[in-house]
Symmetry: C2
Subunit: 276 residues, 2 copies
């Protein structure tokens, strides 16, 4: 039975969206729908145009025998800015203020729709970069790593502060916690990262940068390569920050414990030299 164009477009859209950064040969669709290659090509032209117009990202056609289509999700800069501006409002809610000037984030990092937005925004920054794995540290970095890993279509690995029997052999490093200046330890399962991997580091919150610095040390221990560092939120830190080269989606500029005012602005992700 022949399948109508409308049905093909719906099914192809679903397939392509759920397989980002994956080269799909035209013959895959030809077989799937028992349709002519010319029809599939026409379908893909329509999908390509709509994805572009609607700001989903790029659907690229790769020519040749080993060719096909590959979808790279990327949200427009203005859409990202708009999402993050909305988030600034939510982060400034007074009841988020915790003792010690900390800001409560866990509810936001448990919202699936918000996590998707965060994943899309962070992944957009690394379009065109070769990345083999996303790295984060347990626990609150995990939802962010998972969201980003979905859009980059690469695995994520979780660094832990505690040793677990279910991780097998691990490699550990000591690092200086930036804000408290204590020496801490973090470790990663030995089999979780291949030597030479190109790694993107993400985390929920950066204060002194000590945790991120620990992950940098781990990447070196694995003889892997750091591609970039992006955090969901950073707080302006009075001391010298250990990390220079990173981007943040949000910046907690000021916390007034007396008035309970939290001042949040878009992070340096939106500085023109980080995104063009």
């Amino acid at each position: 039975m022949k399948i109508k164009r409308s049905e093909r477009l719906i099914d192809m859209t679903a397939y392509i969206l759920s397989h980002p950064h994956t080269l799909t040969p035209l013959t895959f669709f030809v077989k799937k729908y028992e349709s002519a290659k010319s029809s599939i090509s026409e379908d893909l032209t329509i999908i390509k145009k709509t994805f572009k117009d609607r700001g989903f990202g790029t659907l690229e056609t790769v020519a040749g025998a080993a060719g096909g289509v590959i979808f790279t999700p990327e949200i427009p800069f203005d859409t990202a800015k708009e999402m993050v501006t909305g988030l600034c409002g939510r982060l400034s809610e007074q009841d988020r203020l915790l003792p010690g000037g900390y800001v409560y984030l866990s509810d936001l990092l448990g919202e699936p729709q918000l996590l998707k937005q965060i994943g899309q925004i962070i992944a957009s920054q690394y379009v065109g970069k070769e990345i083999d794995a996303v790295m984060t540290v347990a626990t609150k970095g995990v939802p962010i790593a998972q969201a980003v890993s979905h859009y980059l279509n690469v695995p994520f690995v979780i660094v832990r502060r505690d040793s677990k029997i279910t991780e097998g052999s691990t490699v550990s490093v000591n690092y200086v916690s930036g804000s408290s200046e204590r020496i801490e330890k973090m470790e990663l399962s030995k089999r979780s990262l291949k030597r030479g991997s190109r790694v993107l580091v993400v985390d929920d919150f950066m204060k002194g940068g000590g945790t991120v610095n620990g992950m940098k040390a781990l990447i070196e221990e694995f003889e892997a390569e750091l591609v970039g560092i992006t955090v969901f939120a950073e707080s302006t830190f009075s001391g010298r920050r250990m990390i220079e080269d990173y981007t943040s989606l949000l910046c907690v500029k000021d916390v007034d414990i007396r008035t309970k005012n939290i001042t949040v602005v878009p992070g340096n992700y939106f500085d023109t030299d980080n995104n063009n």
Copy 2:
């Protein structure tokens, strides 16, 4: 400018797939595409049929003034069985065997495509059940909770074994670790779960059931309601299991430390009385 049907179908498919369990009024699409309500209705009929034929789930039309469409993702039982059978093979790989007869899972729980499948399968079991939140315990349960929460479109909350200043006030319970019979403690941020919430518990691995039992106790402390328990994998346990009413996607039946053979079969999710 009028938008062609083909473009509408592509954009509507993307929108609907990324907003599961969300009632979208027809007028939303009418405005978005500046198209007649009758055209939108026709589009939705085509999408509904394709979603059904392709096993994505149900697109339901709710009539009336407050009506619209609502998409419930659900994968067919046979597709779920096929996915899990493939997983049995991967879980039985000899090099997964860790000292103490544990099985290494962390790589699988970091693969975005696999997590999506796990999320779809677990969410499918609870179609038609009212669920307000997904609960899990740090660290390895998090990716599973996040995947399920995406398909149910509800937030997830993370129970922790360690206290963190960034969680604010917490409620804690003591529980007996099923396999080691030690007394342990777990806690959940007080503001993360509303009283009366209907909670689905998920976790990566269940041995004695102590951890899941701890989460049950926490749910009681929050005066919330347990809807169900599903784990990615369980291992057959020689002692008396503390939990009776749960489903598992995979079952580690036997681990032979001498020959390094791991025997994995589909879990009780696939028993006919758990899924019909």
